[in-house]
Subunit: 249 residues, 2 copies
Amino acid sequence: MLSAKFLLGRGRDALSPTEQRALEDAMSGVRTVKANQHLARRGEVVTQSTLLIDGLVSRYMDDREGQRQIVAIHVPGDFVDLHGFPLRRLDHDVATLTEVTIGSYDHQALLSITERFPHLGRMLWFSTLVDAAMHREWIFRLGRLDAEGRVAHFMSEMLTRMEFIGLTDEGRFAFPITQSELAEACGVTSVHVNRVLRTLRESGLMTFRNGVVDIADRAGLARLGEFAPDYLYGDHGRWRVEGNGSEIA
Amino acid sequence: MLSAKFLLGRGRDALSPTEQRALEDAMSGVRTVKANQHLARRGEVVTQSTLLIDGLVSRYMDDREGQRQIVAIHVPGDFVDLHGFPLRRLDHDVATLTEVTIGSYDHQALLSITERFPHLGRMLWFSTLVDAAMHREWIFRLGRLDAEGRVAHFMSEMLTRMEFIGLTDEGRFAFPITQSELAEACGVTSVHVNRVLRTLRESGLMTFRNGVVDIADRAGLARLGEFAPDYLYGDHGRWRVEGNGSEIA
DNA sequence: CGGAGGTTTGAGAGGCGTCAACCTCCGTGG
DNA sequence: CCACGGAGGTTGACGCCTCTCAAACCTCCG
C-alpha cells in the first residue's frame, strides 16, 4: 500500500479498508524525483495533487532578493498540495528536499472520491486543515520565539510527525536537509542556525549531524520551544479528546 | 441576507441563489457579542461554527509568559472556525476584537449541506483553504520582512480583504483595533509598531489613527511589504486565472 | 587532486526589545 | 464642574540578539 502512511497516527478514526483501497486505486501514477527539483510553481494551475510516499518535500516562497521562507515541510504520508484541488492554483512553490517517491491524483479522481466516499472526502479535508494548524503554529514560532526556541519547536514537531509514521528510533530520525534549509524554515540565517545547533548540542538537548536528528532530552527541547503537540491532531497521548457521541467527521 | 458576504469577491464562481439560501437557512442563531470576549478556547471540542456578520475577530495563541501571537484576523463574511467542523477541536483561542454580530452553524447542519449540496460543500472547503493561504503569507511576513515591511504587508492585505466585501472608501477603512493588537499580529512590540507607524506616516504611505486606516500610496505600501494579492484568491485583477474547461470546484 | 557545497567561527553593526516617563482622551463619581 | 483613574499612544536611552561580512575548514566526488 503506497498510501498506507496517509493520516497514519492522525485523526480519531482511521480509514476503513474500503476507503484505503479507494484511495490506493485513485492514484494515477508513481514516480521518483531527484532532490532539489520543482514539483510546482506559484501561480500555476494544478490538475493533480501529490501524495508523498517517500522522502522530504518543502513548500516555500522567496522574497524580492531571493531569500527563501519555507512555509511547510512534508514527510511521507502527507498530501503536499491537496489544497490545489479546491484552490486550483498555488500560492507558493513546491520542491523536493531529497530524492522522493510520489503518487499522483487527478483532481477528477478526487472529485469522484468526495462523491462516492463522503467520509473519505472529509478526511481529505481534515488533512488539509491539519496542514493549516501547522501553519498557525509556525506563525507562533516565528512571531514569539527566539532562534533557539524556533529550532527547538521545529525539531519537536518533526520528531512527533516522524513518530506518527514510524520513522523514528528512540528519539532519532533521518532528516537529510542542510542547515541552510533549516534556517529557511526558522526565519534565521544559516550562520545563526549553526550557532544555535551548537548551543543545543552543548546543553545536551539534541544533535543534528550528517542528516540525522538525535533528540536526547525531549521534554527539555519541548519546554525550550514551548511545544505542545495537540495541534498535530495525533491519536496518541494526553491531548486526545474522546468522542462525545455526535461524530461528524 | 446575513451570509451575503461569505466568499464575496472570492473564488471563481459565486454561490448560486439556491446555495446562498441553503447557507442562510442552515444558520441556527444570530447574536451580538461585546469586544474582547472569548468565543472559543484552545483544546475545546466544538459542535458549531461561527460566521462573522459584522465586526472583527482574532484567532491567537499565547506564549508561556502570556505574550500573544495573533494568527488570523477575521472580517465580515469570514467563517472564523469552520475548520472546527472537520477538526472537531481547536488549536487556538478565538476572541472578538470589536463588538460583533455572529451567526452559528451546527456541525450537523454543515454535514447536511455537504451531502445535499456537494459544490457548496467544496466552497466551504475552499474558504478554509484561503485561510490556510493567508497563514502561509503570514509565515512569510514574519520570517522574511522587517517591522516596517510586516506592517505594510499586513495593511495591504487588510485593504484588499476589506475591498472584497465593500467596506472601503478610496483606500480608507474602519479598523478599530489597538496598536498593541497590531503588534501582536506582526510579531513586534507595541512600542516598535508605534515607531513604524510614524515612519509610514512620514513617508506618506499610510496613516492609522483613531481606528481608521488611510492608505495614500497603495503601490508603495505593497512594494514595501512585498505584497502580491494572488494568495487571497480574489476574482478581480490581473491575478485572475481563467478556467480551462476542466472545472472541479 | 581540485572544486563545490556545506559547516564553523570571529568581528562589527544595527534593528528591535526593554524600561521608563509622559501625554491625551474619556468615562466615572464626588 | 473638576478630580481621578485607566487605557492607549508617544518618545528617549540603552542593550542585546541576530545579521552581515569574512575567512577558514571539512568532506565528498568527479
